[in-house]
Amino acid sequence: MSEILSGYTVNQAKLYRPRVVADYLHRQQLLDRFEEHNKKPLTLVSAPAGYGKSMLVSHWLKTCNVPCGWISLDENDNDLRMFAVYFIAAIEGVLPGICRKSQIMINSQELPKVEDLASALRNELEQLEQPFIMVLDDYHLVNETMVHDLLTELLKHSSRFFHLVIICRHDPPLPIYKLRAKNLVTEIRTNDLRFNESETIELLKLVTGKQIDLHIAATLAEKTEGWVTGLCLAAISLRLTGYTELLSLKQHADTQLIAEYFFNEILAKQPSQITQYLLFSSILNRFCASLCEVVCDQEAEVLSCEHSGWEYIAWLKKENMFLIPLDIENHWFRFHHLFRNLLLNQLKRHYSTEDINVLHARASAWFADNGMIEEAIRHNLAAGDVSGAVQLVIQNRQAAVNTERWFELKKWLSLLPDDIVQQHLELLLAQVWIHIYHYNYGLIPANLDRIEYLFKSQPHLQSASGEISLFKGIAFFFQGDCARSLKYLEDAKGQISEAQHFLRAGVEQFWGMAGHMQGQKERVIDELTDLLQNQSLKNVRKIRVMASLVTVHMLSGDLTVAFSLSQQLKNFAISINSNYYIASSSYILGRIHFCRNEMDKAIGHLSQAAELGHIVIRRLYIDCLGGLALAYQAKGHADNATASMKRLDKLVQSLKNSDFLDIAHSFEARLSLMKGKVPSTQGLFSRNWRSRTYNMFFWLESPDITQCRVFIAAGSERDLQEAENMLKEILRLSQAQHNTFQTIFILPLLASAYEKQGRTEEALTVLEEAVALAAPGAFIRPFVEAGPATAGLLKLLAEKNIAVDFIGHIMEAFSSLTDDMSPIDITLEGQLTNREYDILTLLAERLQTKEISEKLFISTHTVNTHLKSLYRKLNVNNRRQAVARAKNLKIL
């Protein structure tokens, strides 16, 4: 797909529909059965091997002229993602652009849920405007429940134009019987596929090219019981031997034995070199001419000639030896499964295991030389040569990482036994790369212990030290230990060469952030900017360097530069088709608008990021959905806010991660606060905030900060004290990490906590600091969200002539706050006093504090005291809310 997400290489051979052989017998009766495809969503072709299932379906597709996709499944498809990759590739190959959304879903680092994937696919298939037939051949090889679930879901509400054909040797665990009851499935089974007598005669005539004695035909039909492979073996044998003494058939009553009997007849008639070729090539799942030469021909030097591989294949074709072409170019072939099994049996009977291992070793060498590492590994393992397989992975892993062939690397590793992987430093390093590719940074530390242990005992692997430093740097970065992170990343920078693009990209991405957080902002920016000037920088590196620069500017609160860089990042991501960075840059743009209280624009960008939510790291997706809820609420669109929260809840429920659950709860609490409700301070989060240091980054939601918001809103002496302690601790952490971004959110809250404790002077000092930090980036939201008390404090600052213009902007945001209280669940916290009632009436007339004090002959201070008590009783945060709620409660 894109350069970044190109992990899945689709083996086109698997999508190739087997072509109908020249001497294929036309079976009109069966073809007619398929014609119901436009009324029924499924055709099931279920029968044992060798009944001609695939050929029949292929023949039908050839005659019916409907666009179709074909997947020849194998054991590798026992993986929902791989299966879906092929399923979608088969559709996209014929009708491009149909499955765009589901394609994005399967490219995400974590697999979407089956129901989500099925519903995305279903929606897309419903858009089809013409019939499309999808054939899944050899479906019996699939035993992954999730794949069955996917198909079950698809069949539940089938689209009008989508028709599925399943070919299998035994029935799949799909609700076939339900479809049968509703007459929604065409079934073609063993009994339908058997050849009757007249068909047998036709077939024998076709294969042998001669008129066949009716008596012989009848005998064969009876003996093979209409089993087409048996008939073909018989026909070939007849062609080679003339009329077999049919008497000998009588002794072989069993169908399977008949097949073997004819097979042996055929083999016995071949020259020895051909026999050897046939037997040796049976170890191959697929073969081409030059591979056959290498595997089969090494000892037969006398007979061998330059083109023997081609000659062999030409002979197989001519003799119709159960050869199945795998591609249009006629380059790759395989044997019919049954024929191959018969050959393998013979091979094992006549050759020792050692001999056969030699064949596998030759095949492995050929595949390795031709860059087909997976098959090379498989043959090594088949020959019992585990260390050879390990060496192959070790030799090829760097190239795979640098060219981003992740899926292949992952596949290679999965072929090796786990205890073997654990014993090899380089294999473990490869595993960590896969974690990094999937953004599973949390899994790195667990691997690092073992890696370091192995590294100490294998000093000859010095070349690995760069990678190890990088991994340590990343691990410490996420633990919030930037000093150590930076140290290791600097080491890695010195050790990893420029040629290793992906490794360098990883270093630079984290080095920029860690460097900034260690107070080296200027140096980091200079160096990263210089790097971008380098024209020959690979895209994979360039985009990460850009992202790193954006992050550094975000963390330092420099929203203006961060904004323009994010736009550049987004444009570049679009140009190289990297959905991951399109989503990330949209998130950052949304995040910046949110900080500036520009909620419409924030909603636009965050929605765009959430659309691609499945492919980015989960934490970011969660932030997008929660951020949307907050932004909608700020706009007064409570319904949309609720809908976004529901999406978020659904997501975190499916993730089953307590940290993510905390973040969702935290978003919910923050949303309640915006609605003027104070959530309980008890048991809000599962974790103790004091328990660890961590990287605060510039996430929209930080449970610790929200916890403080709740304490402040609750407002008891103890709550306020708790909030103050906690805020000071978080502030210390964020300042230590040079995280000006979060500092700007923390300071106004601290000011608010001071103010509520009556410590206005301290509040003003803190708020002044916040204003100074926030002004260059024009942060508005941190002040607005810190509550109405902040507005009063800001006024006092402005009166002191501090940042008058900027404070003016913030005040505008305060005055445009919408009333968004929910009319439900309103109860009065206590009876209003007469004085409070008077003040409330005057508030409704939109009088200011000073005017109220004059009207009621009391001081402004007293008015404020009454107001505070009034707000508490009405459970609101400002005048307009108080009036609205009072009206709601029919007090006014």
């Binding site: 279920s46 029968a47 044992p48 019996h140 035993n143 429940t145 069955h148 079950t152 299998c168 040797r169 035994h170 029935d171 799949p172 665990p173 799909l174 609700p175 076939i176 019987y177 339900k178 079934e187 089974r189 063993t190 009994n191 058997r194 009757n196 007598e197 047998t200 009848a218 039909a221 009876e222 019981e225 209409g226």
Partner: protein, 88 residues
Amino acid sequence: MHAQLSEKNCIFCTPATYSILVEGLLDESWTERLAGLHIQVIKRKNNVCVTTLSGQLTDQAELLGVLNTLYNLNMSLLAIKRLDKACK
């Protein structure tokens, strides 16, 4: 139309009623995955559960599909019986 079928092949590719006995407990919701067979759980004296699956299957390919699903569920097969004797 077809050549005369031997008795063996008659079972092979024509419908028949089967009863399959497996060790352990199988939820009724599995019937959808198991060709619609009727699922009944029997509790034996020693508190060991066995499950019977019974019903008609179209041919041996469908039967094998059921057995394969049971195998993938890690269920041990105790017995399998064809209930109707003569084939049609």
